[in-house]
């Protein structure tokens, strides 16, 4: 019974499902990218060592306090509530009628940024102090050290966490239906509202959500492997492939 309903719901409504899934993907991709950039910047600023000059030190301190407030606030309140506050608040306070999709991207971005800032900070702290010192010892300044030694490693190390955040975003955009963003959940709700087949409609949505998150998982794993490069190295001037890696590193 249900199966036939599913087939007919899909064949009647597939453009709506696809559009919903598309919007969901769009919001989560842009939100994850912008959020990662925000997180990277915030996380890097939060790991700048205290400067010697008093003026600089005070400026850094103030910036750090602002960043902490941002991070704690957005990590500490539900996105569904933030969506209501920001969407209706901006209308009330500034008379801005936000395009729901723009509002959605904005909310997902700053949320992701708050989480990623902490992840990046942890990533920077986890790079051993010796590499910072070695970079300094060859004359690199803080920015060069970050760009050429630390951040490439941090980005590699936080890739799984970023992927995780991406998957969370795909799922959590569903709460944005409260501000009428036409993402997958919103579309499914209106489909179900027309045919009164809630289980079957949402079952289709469920499958679509899983396909999206699982695809992201697979793509990210592929990238991680790519970034890690080959397991072995080839010696120059010797024909044989060297397959020796240290036992402790082998997995």
């Amino acid at each position: 019974m249900s199966f036939e309903w599913i087939v007919s719901i899909v064949s009647d409504n597939w453009p709506m499902f696809l559009r919903g899934a598309g919007i969901t993907l769009l919001i989560s991709i842009i939100g994850t990218i912008i959020g990662s950039v925000i997180g990277l910047l915030a996380g890097v600023i939060r790991t700048i060592p205290a400067p010697e000059r008093t003026v600089k030190r005070i400026i850094l301190k103030v910036v750090n306090i602002i960043l902490s407030i941002y991070i704690e606030f957005f990590r500490g309140t539900p996105m569904i509530v933030q969506a209501m506050v920001i969407y209706y608040g901006s209308m009330l306070a500034f008379n801005i009628d936000m395009n729901p999709i723009m509002a959605a991207v904005f909310i997902v971005s700053i949320n992701t940024g708050a989480y990623m800032a902490e992840i990046v900070r942890g990533g920077v702290i986890s790079i051993d102090k010796g590499q910072f010192e070695a970079a300094q010892a060859i004359g690199m300044n803080h920015i060069q050290t970050m760009l050429h030694v630390v951040l490439p490693q941090v980005i590699r190390n936080i890739l799984p966490a970023t992927g995780n955040q991406f998957i969370i975003n795909i799922k959590d955009t569903s709460v944005l239906n409260v501000i009428s963003v036409s993402e997958l959940f919103f579309q499914t709700k209106s489909i179900a509202g027309n045919n009164f087949r809630y289980f079957e409609s949402f079952f289709v949505a469920c499958v679509l959500y899983f396909v999206m998150t699982y695809a992201v998982t697979l793509i990210l794993r592929y990238f991680e492997r790519k970034l890690d490069g080959p397991e072995n190295y080839s010696m120059i001037g010797q024909p044989a492939q060297v397959t020796k890696t240290r036992e402790t590193e082998a997995h």
Partner: protein
């Protein structure tokens, strides 16, 4: 003789703990100086003060006639003149062997990529690691890592090389390969300042030995003098403890 680095009245405290006390010390061009002394005597701190990884609490460091502790002095430029080799190698994990030796040249010295690679290859040959240019740090043994770290420092073509216990983190069978490279460098006329617990090596390569104890230079002199006729009681005791 031309002094490359001249340290005057250098002191360093961590909080209330005075680790270096009024150190006067210089390194001449082409000289190989070994610093010995018991654990905690301040050897690493002295080396780290010289390249400003630690900020000295007082005193002067004169390099090429200029006090580099002046506020207006460019410490990044100064550091390129000092090559540092660490106990823990500290290779950059995101770079392979070749670019470990190249990244500083390109980004700090602004050499072209081609020139940097040429220079890197030259010094990788010196340390015998030129066949491993494609390897990542984690694919190398300790001795190989340390030899790459030496090549990385040499690639900046510094005036002085600083070594902080370069063989202390190595398995015994790898100590030899690193000391051999260092000995060749010493014989080539490079100016070197080496903190080491390898007494045989120190005796063999040094022009001068500095013995540190509790934050001061207790005694310095030629290897023959320090090892055969130490003047200070604490030098004698230290040598008795370390040389069996």
């Amino acid at each position: 003789m031309e002094k490359v680095i001249d340290i005057q009245h250098l002191s360093k405290s961590f909080g209330a703990h005075e680790v270096l006390k009024d150190i006067d010390f210089s390194v001449n061009k082409g000289e190989v100086v070994c610093i010995i002394g018991s654990s905690g005597s301040g050897k690493s701190t002295l080396l780290r003060c010289i390249n400003l990884l630690e900020k000295p609490s007082g005193g002067q460091i004169i390099y090429n006639g200029e006090n580099i502790l002046d506020d207006k002095h460019d410490i990044h430029k100064y550091r390129t003149k000092l090559g540092m080799v660490f106990q823990q190698f500290n290779l950059f994990n995101n770079h392979n062997v070749l670019s470990n030796c190249g990244v500083g040249q390109v980004k700090v010295l602004k050499r072209s990529k081609e020139e940097a690679e040429k220079i890197a290859m030259k010094y990788l040959k010196v340390v015998g690691m030129d066949q491993y240019v494609n390897a990542k740090a984690k694919q190398l043994s300790g001795g190989q890592k340390q030899r790459v770290a030496i090549a990385r420092a040499l690639s900046m073509e510094p005036d002085v090389m600083l070594f902080d216990e370069p063989t202390s983190a190595l398995d015994p069978e790898m100590v030899g390969e690193v000391l051999k490279v260092m000995k060749e460098l010493a014989e080539s006329g490079l100016t070197m300042l080496i903190v080491t617990h390898e007494m045989e090596f120190a005796k063999e390569v040094s022009d001068r030995i500095v013995f540190m104890d509790k934050g001061v230079i207790a005694e310095e002199g030629s290897p023959e003098q320090i090892f055969n006729n130490p003047r200070q009681e604490r030098t004698k005791e230290f040598l008795k403890r370390t040389i069996k």
